[in-house]
């Protein structure tokens, strides 16, 4: 039983890791070796591709731009979604079900044709080519998601906790920050992770709403095509570097997810 589980896990992890290994493998090769034929590991490992990314300003500023709009988006999404998710999980109010579903519908809008309206809207309010524009645009799909995930976590906290706290004389803000938020920490962690993830990997909107000053790493990556063809090595290295902040975030969330255990014991 135990063995079978580990085996399933192992096979799946292998399936996940092989393409990633291929990316790392490629990032350590020169372009000549990449296109020369199949090699399982770099014959002559080189860090040249990484050097390009960390020394050329267009590369490292685009990296910082991405980090700034992603963290802004994460913060905004959590700040507005926390109270809303609480309202949905604890109260009924006029139009609550419709509101909940409407929020969800915003995650279903195909981004392709929203590009032009978004471009016009953000140009009109003077936010075009700033990280905040991308952060706000990404709220379109991250806020509904955050409300959803948080509502799920909040609903599993028994209502009696709220009632007891009010009887003990807590005001709502005090109760919410001191008692309620610590209880749903795993949920907050997971939500932050999802906001980060969807904002970090999105290409279409981020590329449309920026040009020079706030260019994100994903759109910088689409510009490795030159006269001599695609620069596979640098592209692979950029992909590997783009993975790193995500690994850091999931490392923090790991603790919170593990604490999810305590949630049911309340």
């Amino acid at each position: 039983m135990k063995l079978r589980k580990s085996l399933v896990m192992l096979i799946y992890l292998l399936f996940v890791l092989v393409p990633i290994y291929w990316l790392v493998n490629m990032s350590l090769k020169s372009n000549r070796e990449i296109l020369g034929g199949l090699t399982l590991w770099p014959a002559a490992p080189t860090l040249d591709n990484y050097r390009v990314i960390f020394t050329e300003p267009t590369w490292y500023t685009s990296y910082l731009n991405s980090l700034s709009y992603v963290s802004m988006n994460m913060l905004i999404s959590l700040l507005v979604a926390l109270p809303a998710a609480y309202a949905f999980s604890r109260y009924r109010f006029l139009g609550d079900k419709h509101m909940f579903f409407w929020l969800l519908t915003n995650r279903m809008a195909p981004p392709a044709v929203f590009l032009l309206p978004f471009f016009q809207l953000y140009s009109a309010v003077g936010l075009f080519d700033t990280p905040i524009a991308v952060a706000l645009a990404h709220c379109l799909f991250n806020v509904p998601l955050a409300v959803w995930i948080l509502e799920g976590f909040m609903s599993s906290v028994p209502k009696e906790i709220d009632e007891t706290a009010y009887i003990d004389g807590y005001t709502f803000p005090k109760f919410f920050v001191r008692i309620f938020l610590p209880m749903i920490r795993p949920g907050i962690g997971v939500t932050a992770f999802f906001c980060f993830m969807f904002s970090w990997v999105e290409l279409l909107l981020a590329r449309t709403l920026t040009s020079v000053d706030a260019k994100p790493i994903v759109s910088q990556m689409t510009r490795t095509v030159s006269a001599s063809g695609i620069d596979w090595g640098v592209l692979a290295a950029a992909g590997v570097v783009a993975l790193l902040p995500g690994i850091a975030v999931i490392y923090f969330v790991r603790n919170h997810v593990a604490k999810g255990f305590a949630l049911g014991r309340v």
């Binding site: 399933v8 896990m9 393409p19 291929w22 199949l38 700040l79 509904p144 990997v201 014991r265």
Partner: protein, 287 residues
């Protein structure tokens, strides 16, 4: 029963304002476009429902719509069960937990255009591991010229990319089950199937609801990955709806028609998700 209190609206208001700004205004712009024929910003004619009529009889669109439905169905049928299996196989304690969590989430953190690039390389028969292996096993695999192979590659790429999302959601759902439940099950000598069916699955319902809908919506709007991998080809074998739409809006700059198309597109997703949503919440109320 939850208390009825309209003051709760104050808590929802920030979300409403924020989402309205980035949703309602652009949506109205699209509706506006969809009833006009636009040559340039100052030359436009009101055409009423003509675009809608044209779209609904366009065989190219109906084709890619069919393709899209089959694709989303395959994605759900593979990823949801696989995600649950992976979540159940996750280690419960020890060093294996953070280790497998981090490894699992790796594909989710790869920017979408890089996902396409990775599979583009790894599927090539000369320099890619998978393409090379399949060909040396005697299979004639080439995703660039064979529609069946292209389709399979896009599907495997999606499974690689997104199954972890389902698995992670299920895993965090599983972790919220108190130990007491399992102890009780052990005392009752419940089989592992019974534990799954009567303890784990009901607890997973909420997260599964999110997972199924997210996967449906996102697979229905898939754009970047197949665009990078196959460019929609060979022929139109992997041209999904979003790509048809983008070709129309940005390639041919056919704004009116593209706007009408995107509204219909949006309504289809809305309808299907609504069916899922009500079916699942309905069960919830009964059960």
């Amino acid at each position: 029963m939850k208390p009825y209190n309209n003051k709760a609206w104050w808590l929802v208001l920030p979300v409403f304002v924020l989402v309205a700004f980035s949703a309602i205004i652009p949506m109205m712009t699209v509706v506006n476009y969809s009833v006009q024929d636009i040559f340039d910003p100052s030359t436009r004619y009101f055409v009423g429902t003509e675009w809608y009529r044209e779209i609904l009889t366009d065989p190219r669109l109906l084709d890619s719509l069919m393709r899209q439905f089959v694709y989303s169905f395959c994605v759900l049928a593979i990823e949801v069960p696989l995600g649950i299996i992976v979540a159940l196989s996750m280690p419960r304690r020890g060093l294996g937990v953070p280790f497998s969590l981090i490894l699992l989430s790796l594909p989710l953190l790869v920017p979408w255009n890089v996902v396409g690039t990775i599979w583009q390389i790894i599927g090539r028969e000369d320099i890619g591991l998978y393409g090379w292996t399949l060909n040396s096993l005697g299979l004639d695999y080439n995703y660039a010229s064979n529609p069946r192979d292209a389709w399979a590659t896009v599907l495997v790429m999606d499974v690689w990319h997104w199954t972890s999302l389902v698995a992670l959601l299920c895993y965090s759902g599983l972790r919220s089950i108190p130990d007491v439940y399992y102890q009780a099950a052990r005392i009752d000598r419940a089989s592992s199937w019974a534990v799954f069916r009567y303890i784990q699955l009901p607890k997973l319902k909420n997260v599964l609801l999110i997972a199924v809908m997210l996967r449906f919506m996102d697979s229905f709007m898939i754009y970047t990955e197949p665009f990078v991998l196959t460019g929609g080809g060979p022929g139109t074998a992997t041209t999904f709806l979003s790509q048809t739409l983008t070709q129309m809006a940005l390639g041919q700059f056919d704004l009116g028609r593209a706007a009408a198309f995107s509204l219909i597109y949006f309504l289809i997703i809305l309808l299907v998700t609504w069916v899922f949503y009500t079916a699942m919440t309905h069960n919830d109320n009964k059960g």
